[in-house]
Amino acid sequence: MSRAGAIVRAVRAAWPPVLMLVVMVLAGELIIRACDVEEYLVPAPSAVLKALVDSRRELFGSMLTTASAAMMGMACATVLGILIAILLSTARLVQRAVYPYMVFFQTVPVVAIAPVLVIWFGPGLHSVTICALIVAIFPIIANTLTGLLSTDPALREMFHLYGASWWSTLWKLRLPSALPNIVTGMRIASGLSVIGAIVGEFVAGVLQGNAGLGVEVMIAKRIGRTDLVFAAILAASALGLVMFGAINLAGHLLLRRWHASERN
């Protein structure tokens, strides 16, 4: 009964966007065919689908390459971001001195930084991973910092009253209460890390083995296969969605018992 109810509710929630998608795809197909648009300018949805199916092995391999850079970048950004946020929340003077530059650094586009990374680390996985890290780290730092600085003052006083050390206050109080913020930061970072990896691949990607999706896009573009460009973009979006979904699921499992955002 409740399961059937859940299905009904899911269908009810899902039909408007699904219908929208079908209408858009059909309209695209019709307009492109009717106007006889050149394939290399805008490929019809059916052409993109065909490219997706024909090159599925290649695209899947590329997706794995990009995924590993994005996930590694994401993992490093999470660990490093949390550590930096702890440092900033502990030393207010450091926070005041450093934070403005971090905000500034955050506005510098990765594409501009990527060539420098290639000079330092050479083209390939390292540089691409660092690109993903650079775009993913700021939301994690900013959100974790907010969480660490908004610990319930009464609880901090209680910990103080029982002589809690800095370390146990951090571990037993401040980090767990910042967890919802950390998850929010990671959620934002998950999509960004894929973008960072692909942009990194534009500049620092290499052609050997399974090239990443960014490289795939560049090559497809160069040989005039716009349908393949679009297929690669779809694969990149799918990757972003999978990463976002994974973080969401992890967040849900961690927070469902106690945090209002994940209850029900």
Binding site: M158, F159, H160, L161, Y162, G163, S168, H259
Partner: protein
């Protein structure tokens, strides 16, 4: 220092407050030369208009804030700022539990911070939880409890270290009348069988008279001690106590003192 000794069933401590004044930020005077001597094991209530400085006084006794002038002695020992006041527990107006911990693990927090071994921690926490009548709820999370149950957990957490001095700042103010009376009776029973000293801040005259042996009434800000009223009711207090002529007379008397503060 042995933890077992620290948390063994102790009798209360005496608290002596001598000419304590508090000025916030140079101009808000919250306390004006307050002196009070509280013998070991006494149950004292503090009454006064909102914003007069009751919480300030309680926080100074707990060592969470420093007096501008004057001194606090506990069992004759002068308290210096920054001293750890082991043996003191504080209950806030709201429960302030750690939402990511179950009831049992919440009550264990003070023991964890004091370094009590795991096994002993469990035992003491279970005992404290039984004392407040929540044995059925040990595995639940705070979000799954009612307001009254949360406050009980907060009380158990304060009692788990067997404090010699229990400070409560309007602990049951947010609860409905029925739950509040129920908790009042439980607190009274706990005080009777532990012998600790209790200082209880409240807005409710009936609650103060019902619970305590003595009521200190403060003036509007800056708080001065207006009246110090002994409450010669029998130790064993029940629902009937509230219609006892002594109860009614003292409640009237306190009312009279408080009224002057509002009309002035």
């Amino acid at each position: 220092m042995s933890v077992a000794a620290e948390i063994s069933h102790g009798t209360g401590v005496s608290v002596s407050i001598t000419s304590v004044s508090k000025v916030y930020d140079g101009d808000v005077q919250a306390l004006q030369s307050v002196s009070l001597d509280i013998p070991a094991g006494q149950f004292l209530s503090i009454l006064g208009p909102s914003g007069c400085g009751k919480s300030t006084l309680l926080r100074i006794i707990a060592g969470l804030d420093e007096p501008s002038t004057g001194e606090i002695r506990i069992d004759g020992v002068l308290q210096r700022p920054g001293d750890r006041r082991t043996g003191t527990a504080f209950v806030f107006q709201d429960a302030h539990l750690l939402p990511w911990r179950t009831v049992l693990r919440n009550v264990e927090v003070p023991l964890e911070l004091l370094g009590t071994p795991r096994q002993r921690r469990r035992e003491l926490a279970m005992h404290a939880i039984e004392e407040v009548g929540l044995a059925d709820a040990i595995r639940r999370y705070p979000a799954q409890l009612s307001g009254g149950m949360r406050m009980r957990v907060s009380l158990a957490r304060a009692l788990v270290t067997r404090p010699k001095l229990l400070l409560l700042d309007e602990p049951f103010a947010a609860l409905d009348e029925f739950t509040r009376q129920n908790l009042d009776e439980q607190l009274l029973a706990l005080w009777q069988h532990t012998g600790m000293t209790v200082i209880f801040v409240t807005h409710s005259i009936a609650e103060a008279v019902f619970l305590s042996q003595r009521a200190a009434v403060f003036s509007r800000r800056p708080a001065r001690l207006l009246d110090d009223i002994a409450i010669p009711l029998p130790a064993n207090r029940t629902i009937e106590t509230r219609s006892d002529p002594v109860f009614v007379e003292i409640a009237r008397q306190v009312q009279q003192v408080m009224k002057g503060q509002v009309d002035e």
